[in-house]
């Protein structure tokens, strides 16, 4: 049960960290629970579908279907985060002021919450499909229902608990800086996901690695350790990154930062001109 719980925990943790950041970033939005909840439901259903069709997916497109699928959903999440981050950069200050004034929920307005639904769904789908395949294998090799249910319970409770810790930790950031902090976190998250996408495209031999190992920091912080895994999810930490991954990381981070700067200023100017 402990072994099963541990694997489930590792996968749930990755998804829970992403959901926590999204939940923090949507602080004050009235309907956020519904949006994030829907994202989780879509993700779970997607995970089941991916697991059921794993065979078809694996053999698709001469054997690189799995990598193409992973890279596509990751890049879709990157685009959604970019869209939301840039929107927030131009509306975040006004949102924080509004929240301080009314002391509670504000309307979501034109905010692209559907973008975040997709980000949550992608996170849950990717980790969830691995859990489903693993548990299916456990069941097929004779693990009992108690072992499996217990493993799921341990893993989910553990993973979600760490997610909550991160969430409440983030709530400790002063309101003045809150949305710019979550926005930067989202930027790093997106850059990390882009780097993972590049990893899959290298594995499928679609993109050249541009250096298999640009550096190796595994002796300082291994990818397999809990901290390494957490940082891998949050900011895209990779102990042995390929050159192409670094390129994807840098391009994504710079593109979102520039977008935030440009539209952020434009938004602030328009609003001060209007008032």
């Amino acid at each position: 049960m402990l072994g099963t719980g541990l694997l489930v925990f590792r996968e749930v943790l990755e998804a829970a960290l992403i959901v926590s950041i999204v939940f923090a970033a949507t602080r004050g939005v009235a309907a956020r629970g519904r949006w994030v909840g829907s994202g989780i439901v879509v993700g779970v259903v997607g995970a089941l579908l991916v697991a059921i069709f794993a065979d078809t997916l694996a053999s698709a497109i001469s054997g690189i279907g799995q990598e193409l699928f992973n890279a596509s959903v990751l890049l879709a999440a990157v685009v959604m985060i970019a869209w939301h981050a840039i929107w927030m950069a131009s509306h975040g200050r006004e949102l924080a002021t509004q929240m301080k004034a009314v002391g509670g929920a504000v309307q979501s307005g034109s905010r692209p919450l559907s973008a975040l639904l997709i980000v949550v769904a992608v996170a849950v789908l990717r980790e969830g499909s691995e859990v489903v395949l693993f548990l299916y294998g456990q069941a097929a090799s004779g693990a009992g229902p108690v072992e499996i249910a217990g493993g799921i319970a341990l893993g989910v409770i553990g993973g979600v608990a760490v997610g909550f810790l991160l969430y409440f930790g983030l709530l400790g950031i002063p309101m003045r800086h809150f949305f710019s902090a979550t926005n930067w976190l989202m930027l790093l998250l997106a850059a990390g996901l882009a780097s993972q996408a590049a990893g899959f495209l290298i594995q499928a031999d679609i993109l050249p690695a541009l250096g298999n190992r640009v550096w190796d920091t595994s002796s300082l912080l291994s990818d397999a350790s809990l901290l390494g895994k957490t940082l891998h999810t949050l900011i895209g930490y990779d102990a042995r990154p390929a050159g192409m991954q670094l390129l994807f990381y840098a391009i994504t981070a710079v593109a979102i930062a520039l977008g935030m700067k440009m539209w952020g200023n434009v938004g602030a100017r328009t609003r001060s001109a209007a008032s």
């Binding site: 794993a54 799995q66 990598e67 395949l133 594995q203 031999d205 679609i206 993109l207 050249p208």
Partner: protein, 107 residues
Amino acid sequence: MFRSVCLFALIVAAPLAQAQQHEARLVIRDHKFEPAELNVPAAQKIKLLVENQDATPEEFESSELNREKVVVGKGTITIFIGPLDPGRYPFFGDFHQETAQGVLVVK
């Protein structure tokens, strides 16, 4: 714009990287890798085929090689690796880590 220039450069450069390629094969049976030590040449791109003869799914994973890919029961996957420097690169089956352990020996 910069992005599309990069992408274009990559598409042009990609075939050049595929000059030399070595094919290697691994089998998963009873949640173990066979052979547990697989020898491959250094400085060549490696096309690694992993055939899962078990009925249950497995995930080929290696942090040393920076690779992970699910292989369903009775399925075969292809993973591209390298070119690598000489050395030992451990890999494992994520779903059966107690038994599914192996090393890629690059010479």
